[in-house]
């Protein structure tokens, strides 16, 4: 067992390391894109009556379809339909971002709608414009409420990112499966990979819990 571990896991450390880097790269990009999309869709959902229905449909669609289906859909259908993404990597990033943006947009919406009406009235009473009210009153509070769910969504992105190996993006999972197919010795390599993913995601979840506890006590943001 130790022999196998040394041989297959440590012996392929560079391959796995590259895979992990690819995983992190994809996740970070997908996450940033998800935030941008979520803010746009979430704001449209609440503030733009003409786009409300469209934004709601977007949120529902991406929340109700499995990530694998979205991934294959973006990878195979979008290039013909919209002319992009051009590479598998882009497709992976877009699909992961779309899924998370649906969840995050919903969080933004509930964050905004959870604010008491009086705060808008108060803002208006002191002569703030609508944009200023959003920027200086709504946004800071919504960001505070959202911070924990942002981090837990990051964990979801990493979990979902294991599937991008299916469209041949050389992430950690892809590297692991390649090594398995090469040596037919899956025990050590797959267990180590599982543990590695567990560790990364567990630490993120831990951070999310810490932060949400902290916010709750410090800013009195009780659920």
């Amino acid at each position: 067992m130790i022999d196998n571990f040394n041989r297959y896991v440590l012996g392929n450390a560079d391959l796995l390391g590259q895979g992990l880097l690819m995983t992190l790269r994809i996740c970070v990009q997908a996450f940033l894109l998800a935030i941008v999309l979520a803010v746009a869709v979430g704001l449209a959902r609440v503030y733009v009556p003409m786009l409300r229905f469209l934004a709601a449909a977007y949120i529902e669609f991406f929340r109700a379809t499995p990530i694998l289906v979205q991934l294959l859909w973006v990878n195979y259908v979008w290039p013909d339909l919209f002319g992009f993404p051009q590479t598998a990597e882009q497709a992976g990033i877009i699909a992961l971002a779309l899924q998370s943006s649906g969840y995050l947009a919903e969080t933004i919406r509930s964050g905004i709608e959870g604010l008491p009406r009086g705060q808008y009235d108060a803002g208006r009473a002191v002569g703030l414009s609508s944009l200023q009210i959003i920027r200086r009153i709504v946004a800071p509070q919504v960001v505070l409420v959202m911070a924990p769910s942002l981090i837990s969504q990051m964990a979801v992105v990493i979990k979902s990112s294991t599937l991008v190996s299916v469209i041949a993006i050389p992430d950690l999972m892809y590297a692991a499966i390649r090594i398995v197919n090469q040596w037919f010795e899956p025990i050590e390599i797959l267990t180590s990979t599982a543990f590695l993913y567990f560790l990364v995601i567990f630490l993120l979840s831990l951070a999310a819990n810490r932060i949400s506890d902290r916010f709750r006590t410090r800013f009195g943001l009780a659920e």
């Binding site: 379809t65 294959l72 999972m173 797959l190 599982a194």
Partner: protein, 233 residues
């Protein structure tokens, strides 16, 4: 682009292969039901252990929850399919293999038992301690207290959350195609190999999942609304 959009939304291909696709969907639903039962039973046991007075079982069950909640489903699936039979073979000293369907049920069942045990725990903690004490004072047994006092109230409290977990579980059944379970995504890929028409196939699959998930969760919400409102603690 408009032409491509029309192609994507063309249901003709889906209709042509309706029998195969339906068989795939039935496979999804079967795996969903089996793993939902497995996950619920495990979650119940783990949830009870997490609220037990024994420190050791609390620690152990918390570790279990964290382990399965924080490991990606796909990794668990691949692990259950490739590694589990090898380890079992070594332990039992005889050659064992596991076919894709049981591997899928095990992997998804264990993965979601982690999420659901957290839900169970929330439900158990939501019932005020005074209710248990009152039941104890009346001389009810522990099983009776759980069955007649704690579960009915706890379940009502966590039903929306549990429903979300089951929806996620159903969505997660799409990944079983990756270990060659012949579910709907597997059939879609196979048909695509034959027909080379990804546009209507993958768009159709996405819309189908979306429709099923939204319809099912709305229906259950409506059906359970009255039950949930009745007898609130």
């Amino acid at each position: 682009m408009l032409d491509h959009l029309k192609q994507s939304l063309d249901p003709a291909l889906f209709w042509e292969y309706r029998v195969t696709l339906l068989a795939g969907l039935v496979e999804n639903i079967a795996i969903f039901l089996a793993s939902a039962v497995l996950a619920s039973l495990l979650a119940l046991a783990i949830g009870l252990a997490r609220t037990s007075s024994n420190r050791f079982s609390r620690l152990l069950s918390a570790g279990y929850t964290e382990l399965f909640r924080n490991t990606p489903e796909y990794v668990l699936l691949v692990w259950a399919y490739y590694v589990l039979p090898l380890i079992l073979s070594r332990l039992l000293a005889q050659k064992l293999s596991i076919s894709p369907v049981p591997a899928a049920i095990l992997a998804l069942g264990f993965a979601y038992s982690g999420f659901l045990s957290e839900t169970v725990r929330t439900g158990l903690l939501a019932v005020p301690i005074g209710h248990r004490e009152a039941a104890m004072a009346l001389g009810m047994s522990r099983i009776d207290i759980l069955r007649r006092i704690v579960f009915p109230q706890g379940l009502r409290r966590v039903l929306p959350d549990a429903l979300n977990q089951y929806v996620s579980l159903f969505k997660a059944t799409s990944i079983v195609s990756l270990i060659a379970v012949e579910d709907i995504m597997y059939q879609v890929s196979m048909i695509n190999v034959e027909e080379m028409r990804p546009l209507p196939l993958y768009t159709g699959a996405a819309l189908l999942y979306c429709a099923i998930v939204i319809a099912a969760s709305q229906t259950i919400q409506v059906l359970t609304r009255r039950w949930r409102q009745r007898g609130w603690a």
